[in-house]
């Protein structure tokens, strides 16, 4: 009996060490600011740095704007494709996967070229950065919404709502959005993570977001980048924890229907 459990436990142990050891090493390194003893000095430095606060808040604001725009763009599109234009689905999927193929640096150069001269001049506003971020969020947002739509039998729900007299707007906001809550949250948190860590576009367009701040710290300080890495991990874990918390309420509200 015991022999059968040896190898699985061994595998888990090895996997855990593989993931946790670098994390632990980083944490340990971040505590070494003060010579000779462990301290949280590097964390104090980072957290009391006004630049940290400013760039972080700025990135959060951009992230929220990106999420809102992305939702308004993606959800009706995915809904319409799902319901009325299934033949367009491969095309839309290809488009939403382009950010994986085209590096952000190509994207940002393209944006600068087009929007730095009349008729549309946007390089001087952060709106351009948000637009770029919306494009970067496409794959995650679309996939999350598409998965959510598949799970809830959109067609029947829409038709039921229509037979009861609902308009398209009512259907979207009273039936579709509420039932996609978990998928939308997933997409939103992924977008949040991407925007927060994004470096290339923010640097090229010259906006004081969190990404460039991370790079700056990395160039000038030794222990603070490690502290920042740990703080980022902490933030990510909090985000995932929140997703779990908020999605637990609707776990039972999954697919409920008869046969098809």
């Amino acid at each position: 009996m015991k022999k059968q459990r040896f190898w699985p436990i061994m595998m888990i142990l090895l996997g855990a060490i593989y993931f946790l050891l670098p994390l632990f090493a980083t944490f340990e390194f971040s505590l070494r600011e003060r010579r000779g003893e462990y301290s949280f000095d590097s964390y104090n430095y980072v957290l009391s740095d006004p630049q940290f606060r400013d760039s972080f808040v700025y990135s959060v604001a951009l992230a929220l704007a990106t999420i809102v725009v992305s939702l308004i763009l993606i959800v009706p599109t995915a809904f319409w494709v799902h319901l009325k234009l299934p033949q367009l689905r491969p095309v839309i999927e290809f488009i939403t996967l382009l950010p994986f193929v085209i590096p952000p640096i190509v994207l940002v150069f393209g944006l600068i070229r087009i929007y730095s001269r009349p008729p549309i001049v946007l390089v001087s506003t952060p709106a351009l950065l948000v637009a770029g971020y919306v494009v970067l969020s496409f794959p995650y947002m679309y996939r999350a919404v598409d998965t959510g739509l598949r799970a809830i039998d959109v067609r029947s729900l829409t038709e039921a709502a229509q037979s009861l007299g609902a308009s398209w707007l009512t259907i979207l906001f009273r039936v579709i959005f509420p039932n996609l809550r978990v998928s939308l949250l997933n997409g939103a948190f992924l977008t949040f993570a991407i925007v927060l860590g994004e470096f290339t576009m923010a640097t090229m367009l010259n906006w004081p977001t969190f990404g460039p701040y991370l790079a700056l710290i990395g160039q000038n300080r030794a222990y603070e980048p490690a502290a920042l890495a740990i703080i980022s991990f902490g933030l990510t874990w909090i985000c995932i924890g929140l997703i779990q918390l908020l999605s637990r309420g609707s776990q039972e509200q999954g697919q409920l229907a008869g046969t098809r």
């Binding site: 037979s163 009861l164 007299g165 039932n179």
Partner: protein
């Protein structure tokens, strides 16, 4: 003028015609079933009435008004889906009240109507529950209540009971019929289950391959099927091949025995045709009456089905099924014995297209 009229409806997807030559006149308060196997076009036709599909040709009229081009959310039609399609994010009460909220009825009116509906479908205490907390049968009742809450002119049901188990199906369908009759609402019911169609409907539309085979009352469909499809789809049939001996006298020869039909035949002598006899029309014993045919068979198998005893008989190389009512004093001959069975002449159905 009928309440619901479908006039020359045709629906083609590309080159294939899913529905064609569909004509129906339904009176107010009628319960009509569309009966047929999968792919016969019954659901497509229902969806055209609801507005989810556009007919390629033809007109749909409700109360004399042409609604063919009206969007589904303006037709005042209640629909119950096979998958229930209850909104998972809303309580039962909110689901039922959805149609009323959408048109902006006052909250007090909505609440009383929801109460009324909950009582109608016999779920008075379940208003605050969520759909996932209900059983299949309860969910279907909520779906029905939701469709009826808006006081629709028509009620459309798309195989609403096929996801439920047999006992609940039977009790729920009877309740459905009772509610429908009480409200007097014109209803179209799509099903592939002939027992459902026969027991619930005022009239049945039997469909096959996109066309109507026959429209009639359950009695007419069962006892006077007008095509061989209807005869073999509805109820069980014993189909036999026969040779015409004398068309005027309705004389046929089946496996060497002479058998007579009630009506003269439309065929020439010497032609092979198919005839059919319902299992319940066969009886044991040689009924030497003018109106009956008698043939000798041997018993293959006896199956006790409860109220009905099904006996499998052998006539030359053909097997027949005979249904007799159970009785405590029933004594059946043993398997293997040769007996005589008889059936009335009218029970010998000539199948068209044979």
């Amino acid at each position: 003028m009928s309440f619901l009229e479908l006039i020359n409806i045709r629906k083609s997807f590309g080159a294939t015609a899913a529905v064609e030559h569909f004509n129906l006149q339904a009176e107010k308060g009628e319960f009509i079933s569309f009966l047929g196997s999968s792919g016969c076009g019954k659901t497509t036709t229902l969806r055209m009435i609801a507005g989810f599909e556009q007919p390629t040709e033809g007109e749909i009229r409700v109360g004399g008004v042409n609604i063919t081009n009206q969007p589904p959310n303006r037709r005042q039609i209640g629909m119950v889906f096979q998958s229930y399609a209850l909104f998972p994010n809303m309580t039962v009460a909110d689901n039922i009240g959805f149609g009323l909220r959408v048109v902006g009825k006052p909250a007090t009116k909505i609440r009383s109507r929801v109460e009324e509906m909950l009582h109608l479908v016999d779920l008075p205490a379940l208003g605050r529950r969520y759909p996932h907390q209900l059983s299949g049968g309860q969910q279907q009742r909520v779906a029905l209540a939701r469709a009826l809450a808006i006081e629709p002119r028509l009620l459309l049901l798309d195989e609403p009971l096929s996801a439920l188990d047999a006992k609940i199906r039977i009790s729920l369908r009877n309740e459905l019929r009772a509610i429908q009759q009480r409200l007097g609402i014109t209803t179209i019911y799509v099903t592939h289950d002939q027992e459902e169609a026969l027991s619930l409907s005022d009239r049945i539309v039997v469909m096959s391959k996109g066309r109507i085979e026959q429209i009639g009352t359950p009695f007419e469909i069962y006892n006077y099927p007008s095509t061989s499809f209807v005869a073999s789809f509805v109820g069980t049939l014993n189909i036999l091949s026969a040779k015409v001996i004398n068309a005027d006298k309705g004389e046929l020869e089946i496996a060497g025995h002479h058998v007579y039909t009630a009506e003269p035949l439309n065929h020439h002598s010497g032609v092979d045709i198919s005839v059919a006899v319902r299992p319940e029309n066969l009886e044991i014993g040689s009924n030497l009456v003018e109106s009956h045919n008698t043939i000798p068979v041997s018993i293959n198998q006896v199956s006790f089905l409860g109220a009905v005893v099904r006996v499998r008989l052998q006539l030359a190389d053909k097997t027949l099924e005979m249904d007799i009512f159970n009785s405590r004093h029933l004594k059946l001959p043993e398997v293997g014995t040769e007996i005589q069975v008889s059936f009335p002449k009218e029970a010998c159905l000539v199948l068209k297209g044979s």
